[in-house]
Amino acid sequence: MIEVENLTKRYGDKVAVDGLTFSVAPGVVTGFLGPNGAGKSTTLRMIAALDVPTSGRVRVNGRDYRSSPAPMAELGLLLEAKAVHPGRSARDHLLAIGQTAGIGKARVNEVIEMVGLGDVARKRVGGFSLGMGQRVGIAVALLGRPRTVVMDEPVNGLDPEGVRWIRALLRTLADEGCTVFYSSHLMSEMAQTATNLIVIGRGRLISDSTVEQFIAKTTATSVVVRSPEAARLRGLLGRADVRIASDGPDLLRIDGITPEEVGTIALQAGVPVFDLRVERASLEEAFMQATHDSVEYGATGLENL
């Protein structure tokens, strides 16, 4: 469980996080989205008590993380890949982290095998690829078998197999009762993994709901119909609250009506229908829609390309 309350972080004049309030429940995977510079990483660092909030507070599993007697049992953290001395082996790195909480070599070896670094655990981390470095960071986060896991861009640098693996990992953790909170800029990936979603922009909360609710409330859901008598059907559906667009000679895109209504009207009029489906926006479209006003570092267009 993570509870963020009125959290604010200022760097001089610049407000990175602005009165953020949300909570992350255990047992489900919660995604954390926002444009670049929205304050995601700052928020995650404040959750881990690495950055000190200007005001507001954070609780991890019901308490201030700094006063936790057994921090590694409470919170597992992945912030940046390869936050390791390049001259140290992955094994020594994990051992040093674990020893603070009395974790020994047996658990270190177990986690090294689990993240697939068994063959290179004794090599210096300086020679690791981005993906291997990412696995070291993931191993650190899992080392203490924490009740809450927080990861900033965990799929960064992972190959497709690694992406599938992290998806299964996050879901399994949640199924086991863990609180799982992670950020990603790969939205199709997040749509497949996360159940709940926190969206922020310019340090403020934009949305706190399930992924489905977020898409549904941010974008319109359309009914798409394909019929050889599209023009006739169009006439039958004419109503003040219904907006119809033609996507092709026999294709209609209809907003403000359910597929049940369209199907019934078509049947009663004897209009043949070859395709009738609901088209939902993707998470990416919903995200763009929700955050277009709060993009901090937007490109200006491609005119000068």
């Binding site: 489900v28 690495l50 921090p71 590694m72 001395h85 790195h93 603070t100 203490g144």
Partner: protein
Amino acid sequence: MPTAATVIRPREPVAGNLTMTGVLRSEWTKFRSVRSTWWLLSTTVILTVGVAVFVSPGGASGKPASAAAFARSTEYGSVLSQLALLVLGVMVFTGEYHSGMIRASLSVVPRRLLLLWGKLGVFGAVVLALSLASSVAAFVLGTLVHQPHGGRAHVWFGDPQVTRIVIGAGLVLAVTGIFGLAIGAIIRNTAAGLSTIAAIFFVLPLLLRLALPSSDQGFLRLMPSNAGGALWNAALSPTSLSPWTGFALLCGYTAALVAVAAWRLRRGDA
């Protein structure tokens, strides 16, 4: 929206409480598992012992050397190895800031001062043991090599001045290393930390000596390098502080820097 936690299978805890002992173990693992540690520690020993062995205390005159002269050759080596220990001390913290490791370290040690005490404890213990051992070895080997006749050395630990200089050199080296550690913890950047150390210990004393009129040079003895040097300075110059006063002053500077480092580590962003 958030559903209640459904625990499918209980997660056996593997992580215990955060303890000072745990942090000390962790810091030892970090310290020993990086190559530069061993390079710099070897340099310290080789410089201290090597200079004492190869620099003849008696000079060219062939006369039997005095106790002070023998101890003095220990001092020459110590001045050089001071530099190696300062570098090592600075890098204890700046190395972690440079790689980003500090955030991994502090995220599992949210009571941040434990990290400072852990680093201080491990580094202090290693450096103290090593500098005492190398300073004693430097004196013993230097004496055996350079004594004029075979057999037992005529200058030995019974001489209170010798004991003070040899033990003192070890103590000063250890405290100097901690001085570097504190500077690194405050400045957080290797290049800036090393420049600061070089300025305080080597450049500033030299510039002040050249720039100031001789009547105003009394306060030069208050510089950290000279204050510490008083303890091993065999031929006490009239301007120098008394040995233990000088050492106490060096310890005072170091304690003040450690306090600043603790304050900075505790209240700011990692």
